[in-house]
């Protein structure tokens, strides 16, 4: 009897594997032959994006223009959809025809798993000139030679400063180096009678609003990975330099006071934002804040500038972190042809790009749109166009495990800020190992 059990178990497991395999996903279906280039797109396209409120309305207007110029196509738009939800829906075969994500971090995962189709056959067929895309944008929208996404405007990050608060403290210009930033941050900070922070010069916590290691990294020229694909957190001295600077400022304020100040912060994407309320003198943020400040009718006199560079890397001043919104066709899309038409319109039509860029104050991604006279550019917005064009600007790399490497680092940074992480070198070595292990688990 015992001898019989093992084959039975094996047969059972084999049957189970066949049953489960039958119910799981198959390989990407991107190899289907495409229709002839003359084919006219028609039917309904489902389109998911993450925007809400005012920004969703701006997207809707551009989609309306698309429908007007493509009479046979109807677009069903769903706003406020996040990446996790979209990924789960695609896996369940219920994904949208076209998805729009806020982050380039997902490109590696979406391209390598086939969650978004390879767009190259469509690009080749319709002879779309990818050279019209700015090089950094072209790079972050593909992964290991697979182009599964196209850019829908870009985001760049810079320094916002409150002119009145700076003037009151005797400053006429924003800081250009991290030392200047430290000095000004201390002088601009006001404490309450009980010692709590009332107005902060610069918030050094790396989990506050848009503060994050990815957004700070270009200003120290810190790199995430070595050439061999292993984490560079422990081997690139720029990370240590960045975190040592940050911790000194944290210790000046004390972690207790920063956490309390941070706990009372207003919602980032509302009029309660700390900068818009005058509670923060200087802050790292994306170019979209300009539109929020206008829409929220915030009563502040502000300016924008590139974020300060590390003291010993002044040549980096003027650059910054670059990312952007990306769009692609889902695996299992019911109307990929019309979906591609929508993507082509959103990402290559100069009129559409400029209209959307003016609407949500994002940076256009094609050379023609950047040079368009219709693009509304004031002094504050020009700062971000300059950052976008700066050779020192950089983005974060794509991996098969998405932004897992950033999440692992971010989790450790919370411990670092509280002062419980111990030795910095050992800590960074530990996180680097975690990242390498995690990427190994995700597969080659």
């Amino acid at each position: 009897m015992t001898q019989l059990r093992i084959p039975r178990l094996a047969v059972g497991l084999a049957a189970l594997s066949i049953i489960t395999a039958a119910c799981t996903a198959t390989e990407s279906n991107s190899s289907e032959p495409l229709p002839a280039p003359t084919a006219t797109a028609s039917g309904t396209v489902t389109f998911w994006h993450f925007f809400t409120g005012r920004e969703a309305e701006a997207i809707k207007q551009v989609v309306n223009d698309f429908e007007a110029s493509h009479p046979g196509v109807t677009v069903k738009v769903s706003s406020g959809q996040d990446d996790e939800k979209m990924r789960q829906a695609i896996a369940a075969g219920k994904g949208p025809d076209v998805g729009l994500s806020y982050s380039t971090d997902i490109v590696g995962n979406f391209c390598s798993t086939g969650a978004w189709r390879d767009l190259q056959p469509y690009i080749d067929r319709d002879q779309v000139d990818l050279n019209q895309l700015v090089p950094v944008v072209r790079a972050y929208t593909e992964y290991q030679g697979v182009r599964c996404s196209m850019p829908v405007l870009a985001d760049t990050y810079g320094l916002y400063y409150n002119k009145k608060l700076l003037a009151d403290a005797g400053y006429t210009a924003p800081p250009k180096t991290t030392s200047e930033l430290t000095e000004m941050a201390k002088k601009l900070t006001r404490f309450k009678a009980n010692g709590d922070i009332d107005v902060i010069g610069f918030m050094p916590n790396l989990d506050y609003y848009e503060n994050s290691p990815a957004h700070w990294a270009p200003h120290w020229d810190a790199h995430w990975f070595n050439d061999d694909g292993k984490s560079a957190l422990a081997t690139d001295p720029a990370w240590q330099e960045m975190l040592t600077w940050q911790k000194q400022l944290v210790d000046f304020y004390t972690h207790q006071k920063l956490t309390k100040f941070s706990a009372g912060k207003g919602d980032e994407f509302s009029a309660a934002n700390d900068f818009e309320r005058g509670k923060v003198a200087m802050m790292l943020d994306g170019e979209w804040r300009i539109a929020f400040i206008t829409a929220d009718k915030a009563n502040i006199d502000y300016g924008t500038a590139p974020f300060p560079a590390a003291d010993d890397k002044s040549d980096l001043y003027g650059g910054g972190y670059v990312s952007g919104n990306i769009t692609g066709i889902s695996k299992g899309a019911k109307n990929p042809e019309a979906g591609w038409e929508l993507i082509k319109y959103l990402t290559t039509d100069t009129g559409a790009i400029v209209k959307l860029a003016n609407g949500i104050k994002n940076v256009p991604t094609t050379t023609e749109a950047l040079a368009s006279p219709d693009l509304e550019v004031d002094d504050n917005f020009r700062t971000f166009l300059d950052i976008f064009a700066h050779p020192g600007s950089a983005t974060s790399p794509s991996t098969k495990a998405g932004a897992e490497y950033q999440n692992l680092f971010g989790t450790w940074l919370v411990k670092w800020q509280t002062g419980r992480a111990g030795d910095l070198t050992a800590g960074l070595e530990g996180v680097a190992k975690q990242i390498d292990d995690s990427l190994a688990l995700a597969g080659p």
Binding site: A25, Q88, Y102, S103, T259, A263, G402, R420
Partner: protein, 336 residues
């Protein structure tokens, strides 16, 4: 040569082959069985589709690398070994969950018993107090947690403002402090103890009054009456509360996920929930949260399945051990 005859083996009556049942009776029995099976079929079908198949599939996927989109790739025990050797937060999530089991379960039961004992003694308006203490259990976990996040906000919450008015400086950071995040979850759990209180209330009302009277006549004081009359009588219900409490804590997700998400203060732009769970410093990273995070934020479904299998095994072991130990703690269980 002497040969020894083998002893005669007598077959016990019970092991003898029974007499063949007559065919009509067999047919009737088979018909009866089929009828029962037909009645049970809908349940059996649901059980197989919604329990057996997912369970078996989970076990199978736990031996694979699977991201929901590509076909699963068999990798043997690698997911399991990764958990014990390389997972940066796997063991921390286990420690957090065990903390909740060890502290939340007994403290909830203790407070529920205390409140039930007090409420039962109120002669007039007792039902009002019962309702008041039970009401928090009806609050949806997400809403209740959001309310607590507001109450315990370090900067603007009424709790810290009250502490400040009392002249207490250096107010706690509650959900934002790695050392206090779990104790604050404990306060939230104790606040919502109405479900345990109500079953203890029901069993306390059934304790025979004569036994108290007899104990009182024998000179037993209040504590002795509780120890020798109340406790033995309610012990099965206490044990039930402990077993279900442990299972609940092993699956603890919603409150910790909401509290960590709110306390982190990161705006939910478009990345999803996964990136904010566990804040601060993974103090609120329970095992189910880490499982969710790996499965649906990192899309390592094979790994998440391995964690689910381990959770299932641990829950089962906890339940079996608790039920076996009930003989020691539950009055009358040994005889039963």
């Amino acid at each position: 040569m002497t040969t020894i005859a083998p002893p005669a083996v007598s077959v016990p009556a019970a092991t003898r082959r029974p007499a063949r049942t007559p065919a009509p009776l067999r047919r009737k029995r088979r018909k009866h069985r089929l009828f029962v099976l037909a009645l049970m079929a809908p349940w059996l079908l649901g059980f197989c589709i919604f329990f057996v198949y997912p369970l078996m599939a989970t076990v199978w996927f736990s031996f694979t690398r699977y991201n929901l989109l590509s076909p699963p790739e068999f990798i043997g025990l690698r997911n399991y070994t990764f958990f014990f050797t390389s997972d940066p937060y796997g063991l921390q999530s286990v420690r957090n969950t065990l903390w909740l089991v060890i502290f939340v379960v007994p403290i909830r039961i203790l407070f529920a018993l205390l409140i039930a004992q007090l409420v039962i003694r109120i002669k007039r308006g007792g039902s009002v107090f019962r309702t008041i203490y039970y009401l928090p259990a009806l609050a949806p976990p997400v809403a209740a947690t959001l309310a607590f996040c507001y109450l315990f906000n370090p900067a603007t919450g009424p709790v810290n403002q009250a502490l400040a008015k009392l002249g207490i400086g250096g107010q706690p950071l509650w959900f934002s402090d790695p050392a206090l995040a779990k104790p604050t979850l404990l306060i939230l759990s104790v606040w919502g103890l109405g479900d345990v209180m109500v079953i203890l209330l029901a069993v306390l009302l059934q304790v025979p009054v004569e036994q108290y009277e007899a104990a009182q006549l024998d000179g037993a004081n209040v504590l002795q009456r509780f120890r020798y009359v109340t406790l033995p009588f309610i012990s099965p219900v206490l044990w039930f509360a402990a077993v279900t409490g442990v299972i609940q804590m092993l699956q603890f997700f919603t409150q910790a996920a909401v509290a960590s998400s709110v306390a982190s203060g990161v705006a939910p732009v478009g990345g999803g929930l996964g990136e904010r769970l566990g804040y601060p410093d993974n103090a609120m990273l329970t095992f189910p949260i880490w499982l969710y995070s790996k499965g649906f934020a990192s899309f390592q479904l094979g790994y998440a399945c391995a964690m689910a299998v381990m959770l299932f095994a641990v829950s089962l072991a906890f339940t079996v051990v608790l039920l076996r130990k009930s003989r020691v703690f539950v009055y009358g269980a040994e005889e039963a």
